[in-house]
């Protein structure tokens, strides 16, 4: 008789234990999912320009410790740390070239101070010397519709502002078809040289800049492996290890001619 209540109590405490554990796991899951969703959302911003030498965005987000040393080292106050309300990954450094561009210091003070390696000193080093010209912060993109040089008005503000004058931006001459007797002198950006410093965007005379910097990941395409520059000896090297890939579909069951002449399914019966 005496045994029953004790047994009940034990049962209850076991039940309580299970319920409590379930509650803990459930609440941890709830918190964890909300937390993940928020973190995923705030780190998704891709339209962001990083300091010179920054790792690829994915690696940058995990490596940057958000200490702001690069911001402090920048003599032009170009760099800022993302604040709440900026809608950018919190605490990470970025710059807005239309406000303050990167002035391309030859000694690149922002990179060597980085304690975490999120700004990679090797990526801006050439022949054992710091070389700001090898930075790839972004790439300048021109809006042909609103750039007044494309209208026929003479303007070479971006070309003149470019620290790699004549290399990153060149000016091309065309005939102005509207007047028939003038020249269009239009800027063109060479993405393989452009560092994305943004001096052109800062200098642009239109109300909203018609030449602007975008992250390279956003602005540039990728040709992929299928196309090879036959005139480029180095590029042709890629063919050496190439293997033939043969695709077999229903059509390849018969000879090519038969397949071509097969009208089945094309003509109405």
């Amino acid at each position: 008789m005496n045994n029953t209540p004790k047994k009940d109590q034990e049962k209850l405490s076991r039940r309580e234990f299970l319920l409590n554990s379930a509650r803990t796991v459930g609440l941890a899951g709830l918190g964890g999912l909300m937390w993940s969703a928020y973190v995923d959302e705030v780190t998704a911003s891709s339209l962001l320009l990083r300091p010179p030498g920054a790792l690829k965005e994915n690696d940058f987000l995990k490596t940057c410790i958000k200490c702001g040393m690069c911001v402090e080292a920048c003599p032009f106050d170009t760099l800022m740390l993302a604040k709440p309300g900026d809608n950018k990954p919190l605490g990470t450094p970025y710059f807005i070239p239309r406000d303050v561009p990167c002035y391309m210091c030859p000694d690149i003070p922002c990179v060597p101070v980085c304690p975490s390696g999120a700004l990679d000193i090797l990526s801006v080093t050439k022949k054992a010397q710091l070389d700001i010209n090898s930075a790839q912060m972004g790439v300048a993109v021109i809006d042909n519709e609103n750039c007044i040089a494309f209208w026929g008005i003479q303007c070479d503000a971006c070309y003149r502002a470019c620290p790699l004058l004549g290399e990153a931006i060149t000016v091309e001459y065309h005939k102005n078809d509207r007047t028939g007797k003038h020249a269009l002198m239009t800027p063109i950006v060479h993405a393989n040289v452009c560092t994305g410093c943004g001096l052109c965007e800062k200098a642009c005379v239109t109300e909203k800049a018609s030449i602007f910097i975008l992250p390279r990941e956003v602005a540039l395409g990728r040709a992929g492996n299928y196309y090879i520059k036959g005139w480029d000896k180095k590029d042709e090297q890629r063919l050496k290890n190439a293997k033939e890939i043969k695709t077999t579909t229903k059509i390849s069951e018969r000879s090519a001619l038969d397949s071509l002449n097969d009208m089945k399914g094309i003509l109405d019966d």
């Binding site: 941890a28 410790i65 911001v71 709440p84």
Partner: protein
């Protein structure tokens, strides 16, 4: 009056002067202490890094630089063997906000209408585990992107943005939702230092022979569970959750609480 608030004044001095050193480094380039609480450089030479942030970076899959490893090791060794959880009450600027909430709570009598706190002190440890899981899963430092602690110290040094909202949220949460809610229950950084602090030398010592059981210490203590021995047993406050804030020492009129140095081995619960 001053001697009764000696440690409080020292703590405020410590918290404010650390922030001040960071600010003068950022604004005027006086490099005594550069960076922020996530990672800094002392006297242009000694690296100091937030070990919890480094741990998250590691689980996120980042390559940890030597500077960060040394910096985190210095901080870990200091708090682990000397300071205990002193970061929370002597360095972290959030402490000033939560102390204010706590002060208003006591003076206005909110504690008398809400005596029990419906939450577990273990939440911060769960938060550590969850943060590491999210860091691993998403490949970003999970807590660093939402941390109000970083938002606030970064905000004070580099510009606040909407960071003031984080301050208000913590203030109101601690005032109306949960007594000592942020620092005592939720903050995973506090939990991280609690876990480290078990082994530290500097501990508060309780002399129960002198104790008159007025319970003033339990009223002010932000981590009241660590004072379980008051009036019962003469021993040191060994729990790592004690922040070494010394408020209990100050409010004690009977000299029953004092700082002491723990022996290296043999003093356990």
């Amino acid at each position: 009056m001053i001697s009764k608030n000696k440690y409080l004044i020292l703590r405020r001095l410590s918290q404010i002067s650390i922030m001040f050193l960071y600010i003068i480094a950022n604004v005027w380039g006086i490099n005594i202490l550069t960076g922020n609480l996530s990672s800094s450089l002392l006297l242009d030479f000694v690296p100091l890094s937030d070990p919890y942030a480094v741990l998250q970076m590691f689980t996120a899959g980042a390559v940890i630089s030597i500077d960060l490893l040394i910096g985190a090791a210095i901080i870990v060794l200091f708090y682990m063997f000397i300071g205990g959880r002193a970061f929370c009450s002597w360095v972290c600027p959030v402490n000033m906000i939560t102390d204010l909430s706590n002060y208003i709570r006591r003076k206005a009598g909110f504690n008398t209408i809400q005596k029990k706190q419906p939450a577990s002190r273990k939440i911060s440890y769960y938060a550590i585990v969850i943060s590491l899981m999210i860091s691993f899963g998403l490949g970003v430092t999970a807590f660093e992107f939402i941390s109000p602690v970083s938002m606030i110290h970064r905000g004070i040094i580099f510009g606040l943005g909407f960071g003031w909202a984080a301050m208000v949220v913590i203030f109101l949460f601690d005032l109306f939702v949960l007594k000592n809610g942020w620092c005592g229950y939720i903050c995973p950084l506090g939990g991280f230092y609690s876990a480290l602090a078990r082994f530290s030398f500097i501990k508060v010592n309780h002399d129960s022979d002198k104790c008159t059981e007025c319970m003033k210490c339990k009223e002010v203590c932000p981590e009241v569970q660590v004072l379980h021995m008051i009036g019962k047993k003469s021993m040191k406050v060994l729990s790592g959750e004690c922040t070494n804030c010394a408020r209990c020492i100050e409010v004690c009129d009977d000299d029953a609480l004092n700082f002491s140095i723990k022996k290296f081995i043999g003093e356990r619960k």
